[in-house]
Amino acid sequence: MPVLRNGLLFTLLIVSLCCEVACTPGAASSQAENQSHLSGRLTLTGSSTVAPLMSEIGKAFEARHPDVRVDVQTGGSSRGIADARTGLADIGMVSRSLNSAEQDLHAFPIARDGICIIVHRDNPVRELTDEQIVSIYTGTIDNWIEVGGNDGEITVVNKAQGRSTLELFLDYFGLKSTHLVADVVIGDNEQGIKTVAGNPQAIGYVSIGTAEYDAQHDVTIALLPVGGIPPSTATVAEGRFPLSRPLNLVTRDEPTGLAAAFIDFARSEDVHELIRKQYFVPLAE
């Protein structure tokens, strides 16, 4: 079976290469030449949010270029920045926008990560202001009646320490994890959704890709807008949804050769399915 698949891929590759060569009149483009015999090792380090996605993309890339090894290591976005700068890694992975002190690097956004606030579908509350969300998560509001819902204690669902969604949530609302007063602490997205779906008084936040999929497939949750922007993968992809962040690949110099081919591949349509599988949002064209 794998032999067959690889054979198929190889055939496709050859066909696509021929096409590419045929389609570019004049000299064969240097890119096509690179594509035909890429070899070597590519090292990526950085964000633990981006790493699982890059290992998947790396595997797909290796399948197309048998002589290439893609090596992915984690260690946080700051390590991604540092390693790209020092040249320890060919490519750094960063799960946020670059700040003003990091403008010396070249950034290539590959996808977006968005999180949204969810409540039970039977909860009449369909809109919360940022202040209300902060008050609920810090414990100053503890009954739904105070935000226009039914009388009932609010069950606050929070993420475990170190989860990237927690960081994004804290960042946006300007909170520290020590400020949060939680009733339930969860690990992954799926557990968060099950917890909220089973409790009409719960509020939680999860990755938007998962939540949107489940809400469309009859799981009893409702997604709340943030800052008046409707929560959907579409608004995340457009970059309009505030509770979201870009996932970047960074390099020290303008990428060439293997790194350039890999970055092009990571930003192509071919990996959109892999991106969605990890509950991230592919960039809008």
Partner: protein, 291 residues
Amino acid sequence: MFRWPSDRLFLRVVRLCAAVSAAIILVIVAFLVRESLPALRSVGIERFATDPSWHPAAVATEGTFNLLPMLVGTLLAAVGAVLLATPLGIGSALFCRFYAPPLLARPYRMMIELLAGIPSVVYGFWGLVVLVPLIAAIAQPGSSLLAGILILTVMILPTLALVADASIGSVPRDYLRAAAALGLSRWGTIAGVVLPTARSGLLTGIILATMRALGETMAVLMVCGNVVQIPGTLFDPVRTLTANIALEMAYALGDHRSALFVSGLLLMGLVTLLVAAAELVSQPRQFVRQA
């Protein structure tokens, strides 16, 4: 005819097996200690019990590392489950051995064995979508110490029932005949002869079940709520040591990661104490039998 020195070869093989088994446990303990050392050095043992909260950070000076609420949560969940499951387990074993018609006893035992084979994730999932909402209807948030205790009870019940069944089954038939000859009632036989004779086996079963309850991770992680606190009531969420490791391990760096190994070491210590206890109680009482 060439003959294999089969006995000597066998002895070597058996020795090797024993050495490998012993080495595995020693290597694991050594690894746990090695990975815990950075945190034990930079956080210090007393801070694991005196810090105001559990907000670990990669650098010890920035975080707080109180493991005590999780230790309490672990013990409460395990002990609660053992208290509930023990009478149920021993009761069902007695029913199986002495009261059930043979036609019922065999399928009943098979059912209990099947219960022992259900993976913990399935229990956890069931707990999350069925049990937790039920408890939430009584008292919010539903994910609680009680949910943990109930799930663990169901999970350790088969272990207890099967070990109890086996140890009751190993009571010598002579004793039962003697008891019958003395004219003891069925309950009299059980209370006066069977249970005292099977005592060490029953205790071993209870200790095995306690270990299972202490070590259970996935199901507990899904139903307990995982808030780091010493619970005031059964309806408060708790976090166990195992759930803590599972929740944070993937993202932990530096002293935080090391602190998680410390909680692993703590669990290892608990289990070691239990094994020692099991050794002490499993010495069966010797009856002097007249030939």
